[in-house]
């Protein structure tokens, strides 16, 4: 969609914003993105329903990270023990019980780190160019809902959003790359 209009509607509460999203969903408009100052359950439910998404894929990053951690630890501990078979206080060359601790710690470490990476990756962070329709108040006390639509749809959606309780709706011509879209 080369060009269009971005409707930037501002809400003062998250359930109004959520209603707006649901309204859009019912109107089969899915090219929107919501802004909020905190992770509002309502908004997140509404959006995921609207987009028909499951839970965040970051989970899988963490899982793989954790498993990698365990495997690394096993290789490290057992491997180095057999690199030079030193008799230490009559213990077996590779004594597993103490190594479990290393495995646990490395699982946590790698799991956590890959989780962070996953989060950054899926949220397309860092991204320093401010997205279309972003208003600084969206980070403070207002909730935003930015919809992209063609000229002809504007009025219909505006009324939709107003019904949902938008305080104010601004129009903006869309810059080429437009709203970051993640599908």
């Amino acid at each position: 969609m080369s060009d269009g209009i971005a409707l930037i509607s501002t809400f003062s509460s998250d359930d109004e914003c959520a209603q707006g999203i649901e309204a859009l969903h019912r109107a089969h408009v899915h090219d929107f993105s919501a802004f909020a100052p905190f992770p509002s359950e309502k908004i997140l439910e509404a959006t995921s329903e609207a987009r028909g998404q499951g839970r965040s894929p970051v989970r899988w990053w963490v899982l793989t990270g954790g498993i990698t951690g365990i495997l690394t630890a096993i290789a490290l501990t057992v491997g180095t023990s057999y690199e030079w078979n030193l008799n230490v206080g009559g213990r077996p060359i590779a004594s597993i019980p103490p190594y479990i601790i290393i495995m646990f710690e490395l699982m946590i470490l790698m799991g956590g780190l890959s989780g962070l990476l996953g989060f950054l990756f899926h949220s397309c962070l860092p991204a320093f160019d401010s997205a279309a329709g972003y208003r600084s108040r969206f980070g403070a006390d207002k909730f935003g809902l930015v919809v992209r639509c063609a000229e002809n749809e504007v009025s219909r959606l505006e009324s939709l959003l107003r019904d949902a309780g938008a305080e104010d709706i601004a129009r903006e011509a869309v810059i080429t790359q437009g709203v970051p879209s993640h599908h």
Partner: protein, 454 residues
């Protein structure tokens, strides 16, 4: 002021922001004097450490058989301090405890810097610190690697993991607030926050991943925090030394850690909320809840002390019994009784609601808690070593200037970092306060009478 009280009975999103932004306003002369003072203490510690490295550990009061003493005590103390942060930020998060929102950022900051401080002490205590990296596995031509059986290597892995994970956790939670700060700040601060906030904008997609990773990190931090102090306690429990060789050490140390940690949170947050004028966000109601945790953990460790002594009596091992006899009635027995007073007796005052809600009392009690927990570690470590299996090698440890100065220096180092962070970063999580604004309002209403009284 009165007007402020009136308005703040229904704090709005923007009130929260205002409060935090006020707290982040550039510091005055007093603030910088305080930071300079902390820096001075740090420098002093550094100088003494340098001297110790140069001349050898002989400059300390260490000797046969007191191979470990103040430094390891400090280490355990600081690691313990760290734990309450993770408890409040992660465990209470999982249990959806509402009062945490106001204090968790502060607690977690404390965690990171406490671990950072703790990490120094194993190094300070080494005989040849310049070879500390031999504890780290790395490829070398000698085929030599660390011995993963050694509790000290467990320590290394546990502590470094803990530092990394809690840093990540703190930072993740910080991102939205930094974005918020970015919008209102100017100049170099703006650039800093812009970079640190990674250009966060709070779109629903970002929030979706954010909540997931935050949840999982919390889920990771919870077992981690338990493991870390267990591992630390195994430094002692894994040995054969009477007074150390005990199976209850892990839970006992974890409880103690959280106890001391909450104590220090109180010590830090009570003056801080005054100085930074964030009483509206961190209310008496929050402190009251913290105090309850302190009380609970105090009861737990009281029980642990009892159990420990009972076990010793129950084993009927004369050597073990003699060690504890010395711990209670020996030349340094007074330390033990001071510890009991600080950790078991004084916190009982917290049963009284009026004390829980009186910041001054809370502050004083929290100081006692810190002292008591430091003494606990000292009594266990130095005391048990002094009365070992070989009577001819008994000797009670008395610190010298070097240990004292380095310990004081570590507090300077910790407070300096903490103060700087508190000034330049949002020390209260705006995001979470907004999320749970209903509870904030509840808290403000709850504490309104006290505020009026004050």
């Amino acid at each position: 002021m009165a007007a402020a009280v009136e308005t703040n009975l229904q704090p709005s999103y923007i009130d929260i922001d205002r409060n935090v932004q006020r707290a982040m306003a550039p510091g005055g002369l007093k603030y910088w004097l305080w930071v300079a003072f902390c820096a001075f203490l740090t420098a002093l510690g550094m100088i003494f450490w340098t001297n110790q490295i140069y001349k050898g550990l002989g400059v300390t009061g260490y000797g046969q058989p007191n191979m470990w003493a103040v430094y390891i005590t400090d280490f355990v103390f600081w690691v313990g301090i760290a734990h309450s942060g993770t408890l409040i930020s992660a465990i209470l998060f999982l249990f959806r405890v509402r009062w945490r929102t106001a204090v968790y950022r502060c607690a977690e900051t404390m965690t990171v810097f406490a671990v950072l401080t703790a990490g120094l002490f194993p190094l300070i205590h080494l005989g040849r610190v310049w070879f500390f990296y031999w504890c780290v596995p790395y490829p070398n031509e000698r085929f030599l690697q660390p011995d993963f059986r050694s509790p000290l290597v467990w320590d290394f892995f546990a502590i470094s993991t803990y530092l990394t994970i809690s840093t990540v956790f703190l930072f993740t939670g910080l991102i939205p607030d930094l974005a918020n700060a970015r919008e209102v700040s100017t100049g170099w601060r703006k650039t800093l926050y812009t970079i640190l906030s990674f250009g966060w904008q709070g779109t629903d997609r970002q929030w979706r991943n954010f909540s997931m990773v935050y949840l999982l990190l919390a889920g990771f931090a919870t077992p981690l925090v338990l493991s870390v102090h267990s591992v630390v306690s195994w430094d002692f429990a894994m040995t054969q030394l009477p007074g150390w060789h005990s199976t209850i050490f892990a839970p006992y140390f974890v409880a103690g850690a959280i106890f001391s940690g909450c104590g220090l949170v109180l010590t830090l947050i009570i003056p801080m909320r005054k100085l930074m004028k964030i009483e509206d966000l961190v209310t008496i109601w929050h402190l009251d809840n913290l105090a309850k945790v302190v009380l609970l953990t105090s009861l737990i460790i009281t029980y642990s002390y009892a159990t420990e002594s009972f076990m010793v009596w129950y084993t009927q091992d004369p050597i073990e019994i003699m060690t504890f006899n010395q711990r209670y009635y020996g030349p340094q027995g007074y330390l033990f009784w001071m510890m009991v007073a600080c950790n078991c007796a004084i916190p009982l005052l917290l049963f009284i609601p009026r004390i829980r809600t009186n910041t001054v009392c809370l502050f004083i009690i929290s100081i006692f808690v810190n002292i008591g927990m430091w003494l606990e570690r000292f009594v266990i470590i130095a005391g048990s070593l002094a009365t070992n299996t070989e009577p001819s090698q008994w000797r009670f440890y008395v610190p010298k200037l070097t240990e004292v100065v380095i310990t004081v220096g570590s507090f300077g180092w910790f407070l300096m970092n903490f103060s700087l962070f508190a000034k330049f970063m949002p020390i209260v999580s705006m995001t979470e306060l907004k999320e749970g604004i209903g509870w904030l309002r509840h808290a403000v209403r709850e504490t309104y009478p006290y505020r009026k009284a004050a």
